[in-house]
């Protein structure tokens, strides 16, 4: 297997050259070459690695290059080809509108061997954008990773515990501003859940929670460091460095177990509030594929998860393993959608 590496490295390099090429004139042909050339070269890897029912799989990142979904898609493509699970696994970006643009494109996808990255953010975006294409219309395959959220306050904040913060929000209402990611996103949902759990009536939540949404990364961190807002919620990765440097204080993380990046921060459960919520990512396939096709994809992703290279990638990227496939993932997605809809209704973002 090791001996295969030089070859596959070269093929990823070729792909990247092709990507640059897409931008340039001449390389339109190059790109065509690389995509049409792939199936031809894919007769090699059947057999030894696994009974590969799938020669090539398209991986779609429903986001622009550079973000978490894009990184996940590229990691999948890389491990799949490096371990010869498939002959080729090109990654395409179809970014925009919280992944709903990608979802719309998946709805018309005819190739059953297509894996699109999904996650809690997309489930929220479908609701807030009132998207015609829904996650229910696709075929859920597996959950892969998750990231806990963390609730932070500026270092000089008066709030010592999560309970202090929640009590203050309940007492002062909109006087306490909380910031985080996009409106209706997972950060916003966690804020809503904390309030309902603290006994705020659902119809009162929109008048109590002053949530300042941000579209770009870093804006929430800026507001917290500048003391413009009183608290913030985001993925652990986004705030951990500032917590470790002492600029921010972590009140709690949202996972069931303490987070690797912030081992000293208690969980929300530890703080006596019954909420667990993580930002998970997984893969879905086009709707309407046959049971065999679905099973083949589930097997493929299961094998992907067993690769050592995958475990290493999780570690370098700081992702937590949250593997869950097949029917279990199906019902998980259904539950997530219901929870998301309820919470969004509570915080007044959808009707």
């Amino acid at each position: 297997m090791r001996s295969m590496h030089p070859r596959t490295t070269r093929s990823t390099r070729l792909q990247s050259i092709a990507r640059i090429g897409i931008a340039g004139v001449a390389a339109l042909t190059l790109a065509a070459c690389s995509s049409s050339g792939a199936p031809a070269g894919s007769d090699a890897p059947d057999g030894e690695a696994a009974p590969a029912a799938i020669d090539a799989v398209n991986v779609i990142a429903p986001a622009d290059p550079g973000g978490g979904w894009d990184a996940t898609a590229r990691a999948i493509g890389q491990v799949l080809t490096d371990s010869d699970l498939v002959g080729s696994a090109p990654v395409t970006n179809i970014g925009g509108a919280g992944g709903t643009v990608g979802l719309a494109s998946l709805a018309t996808e005819t190739n059953p061997n297509t894996l699109m990255i999904t996650g809690s953010v997309m489930i929220g975006a479908v609701e807030t954008n009132a998207s015609d294409n829904r996650v229910e219309d696709t075929t859920p395959i597996a959950a892969l990773t998750e990231e806990p959220l963390v609730i932070v306050v500026p270092a000089d904040s008066e709030f010592e515990t999560l309970q202090d913060l929640v009590d203050a929000i309940v007492a002062e209402g909109k006087g306490v501003a909380v910031t985080g990611g996009s409106a209706g996103g997972i950060d916003h949902i966690l804020a809503g859940l904390l309030l309902t759990e603290a006994g705020v009536a659902p119809e009162e939540v929109p008048n109590t929670l002053n949530y300042i949404a941000n579209s770009g990364g870093g804006e929430a961190l800026t507001m917290l460091l500048g003391g413009t807002v009183q608290a913030g919620i985001s993925g652990v990765g986004e705030f951990s460095e500032s917590v470790l440097s002492g600029d921010l204080r972590a009140l709690a993380v949202s996972s069931a177990e303490p987070a690797e990046l912030l081992p000293d921060a208690p969980t929300i459960q530890d703080e006596g509030i019954d909420v667990t919520l993580t930002n998970w990512r997984g893969v879905i396939a086009p709707g309407g594929i046959s049971d065999e096709e679905r099973q083949a994809l589930i097997d493929l992703v299961t094998q992907l998860h067993e690769q050592e290279a995958w475990t290493e990638l999780l570690a370098t990227n700081g992702w937590t393993d949250a593997f869950m496939a097949g029917d279990e993932f199906d019902s998980f997605v259904t539950d997530e959608i219901t929870l998301t809809q309820e919470t969004l209704r509570t915080i007044g973002l959808i009707e």
């Binding site: 990823t12 550079g66 709903t100 501003a177 460091l225």
Partner: protein, 556 residues
């Protein structure tokens, strides 16, 4: 002292031959991809990101630094020559730069952009080296109300772009503000004017707006006039000595320095960004220009290229301040660099300088090296680039259309964007046809959404108290400055009017003599007054003999 020794260590790392090669590779790739319209530095870095996976972190970041600065350089080239800005920060460059190119001054525009970028980039990198932590702490202390004040000042630029008819300018601005509304509203997550089309969810990319209105609209307009007769071929200057005349140097160096002074701090402010810096630079150059040069604005004033180009490169270095010291990405490019850091298991944040000193200082050193390399690479290329303009117009515009379409497609890899581009192109055509200026529209589309978001955030934090907008020292200073600028310009106008009234003869003579001087150096200033002539005008042969030995007969 400590900083210097660390920086020297950084140079020691970055100056190793293998890293120099990586830097060269980076600037070459960055320039090559950045030259394509519609593909700005963010896209360039994102597309080339996978290449660096094979490299060790230091080498990868040196390549990055090269790509980043290279992309910034490349973007201005197409802006100037083809009127197709590659990113929002070079939109302003297209305003004056393309007019200069069409008046045969393309080489001067490219040269002042390249040298200005180098000067400002170097100054800003020095500031980054010395002041990063201090500047970053100040920058994050600003809040939405301060950003809003900054946006209000930036909106003053519109005044400079309105053109002859204020109401036409305002109509154009309003269309721009409307285009800015399209998409998902950040603060509530609700969609606005998307007509149920998911691709409109993220709004319309400002680069599409600029390329559609500038390049496509103009190509259509020229196309509609072509049958009237041959268009004159744009003259170009030959020999590098003629690129920048003494007067060009004299008119460029102050804008370069002011551009650096405006760009660096604005770039380091989380809600600033390079585009706001270029607007502010353009507006200040226009108001600070000598009266005889100010008349040239809108027709190809070199200050209008030198200032904004310097500002956007200085802002590019400014963006690294919050990124390296606090882990805050303030632009799309920075966000991608941040994710590249994470791929290597490096967490940018307040501890980066402590945990990864070798990497950070090598990166900063390679910014200096990359900057110098770009100047060396790009100046000789100026002569080659301007030859593009000698392509007869029908072919030139056909090429522009192809590149604009390709750029629009490559930005998101969706054909939908090409449709949007065409619609905007038709809008641009009719606006030109009916005499509406397009620049205010682009400014509205860029600044509108920013100003709206900051105003609403400020209102949300203060729960609707307008006094919050002026609660901080920064906002007092900003609004105070604005009042002073407006008052000063009104006073200057009146004073000049009075002065000119009292000394009519002397003044006109002086100005017209200066005008004569400018005109005598510029072969075709009258060909382009916003409207293209349909017939082949006799060329001004006054200085033509030495500057253009080949007869530019239409048959070529």
């Amino acid at each position: 002292m400590d900083t210097w020794s660390l920086l020297l260590d950084g140079f020691a790392t970055a100056l190793q031959p293998i890293y120099l090669l990586y830097a060269l590779l980076g600037v070459l790739l960055g320039t090559a991809v950045g030259v394509l319209p519609g593909i700005g530095p963010a896209m360039t870095v994102a597309l080339l990101l996978p290449i660096t996976y094979a490299l060790e972190p230091t080498a990868a970041f040196i390549v990055f630094a090269g790509i980043y600065y290279g992309g910034m350089y490349g973007g201005s080239t197409t802006s100037i020559l083809l009127n197709t800005p590659g990113e929002s920060a070079s939109i302003v460059t297209a305003l004056e730069g393309n007019k200069m190119a069409r008046a045969g001054r393309g080489a001067a525009a490219l040269a002042t952009a390249a040298i200005g970028s180098f000067v400002a980039g170097t100054i800003a990198t020095v500031l980054l080296t010395l002041l990063a932590p201090t500047v970053a702490r100040f920058a994050v202390s600003l809040g939405p109300s301060d950003y809003f004040a900054l946006m209000v000042i930036a909106f003053l630029t519109v005044g400079a772009l309105l053109g002859d008819s204020a109401w036409r300018g305002m109509v154009s601005l309003s269309i721009g503000l409307f285009i800015g509304l399209i998409g998902v509203d950040t603060l509530t997550g609700q969609t606005r004017f998307t007509l149920g089309i998911p691709q409109l969810g993220d709004g319309i990319d400002v680069v599409l707006v600029a390329v559609g209105l500038f390049a496509l609209g103009e190509a259509l307009y020229v196309g509609s006039r072509l049958r009237g007769g041959e268009l004159p071929i744009i003259p170009i200057t030959r020999g590098w000595r003629t690129w920048m005349r003494r007067s060009d140097w004299a008119r460029s160096w102050k804008p370069w320095l002011r551009g650096a002074a405006i760009g660096f701090p604005i770039g380091s402010i989380p809600a600033g960004g390079a585009d706001v810096a270029t607007f502010l630079s353009y507006a200040s150059e226009r108001s600070l220009a000598k009266p005889e040069y100010r008349k040239q604005f809108g027709k190809g004033a070199i200050e209008g290229v030198a200032g904004p180009e310097a500002a956007n490169n200085a802002a590019a270095a400014g963006v690294l301040v919050p990124l390296l010291t606090l882990g805050i990405p303030t632009s799309a490019t920075a966000a991608i660099i941040l994710s590249a850091f994470q791929t290597y298991g490096i967490a940018p944040g307040p501890r980066l300088f402590e945990t990864q000193p070798v990497l950070v200082w090598a990166l900063i050193a390679s910014l200096f090296i990359g900057n110098a390399m770009l100047l060396v690479l790009n100046l000789p290329l100026v002569g080659m680039w301007v030859k593009l303009l000698q392509i007869p117009r029908p072919y030139l515009y056909a090429g522009i259309l192809v590149f604009a379409g390709l750029g629009a497609y490559a930005a998101n890899f969706t054909t939908f964007d090409i449709g949007v581009l065409l619609v905007l192109g038709v809008l641009g055509f009719f606006m030109r046809r009916l005499g509406f200026p397009v620049a205010p529209l682009v400014v509205g589309a860029i600044l509108g959404p920013m100003a709206e978001e900051q105003l609403r955030k400020a209102m949300q934090i203060s729960q609707g108290d307008p006094a919050y907008l002026v609660h901080s020292p920064f906002s007092w200073i900003a609004y105070g400055l604005m009042v002073v600028i407006i008052a000063l310009s009104l006073w200057l106008k009146r004073r000049r009017a009075r002065y000119e009234a009292s000394l009519p003869a002397v003044d006109t003579v002086a100005i017209s003599a200066l005008d004569e001087d400018i005109e005598s150096h510029e072969p075709h200033p009258e060909l382009d007054r916003g409207r293209l002539s349909t017939t082949a005008l006799p060329r001004v042969r006054r200085d033509g003999e030495d500057d253009d030995p080949d007869d530019p007969a239409p048959s070529r």
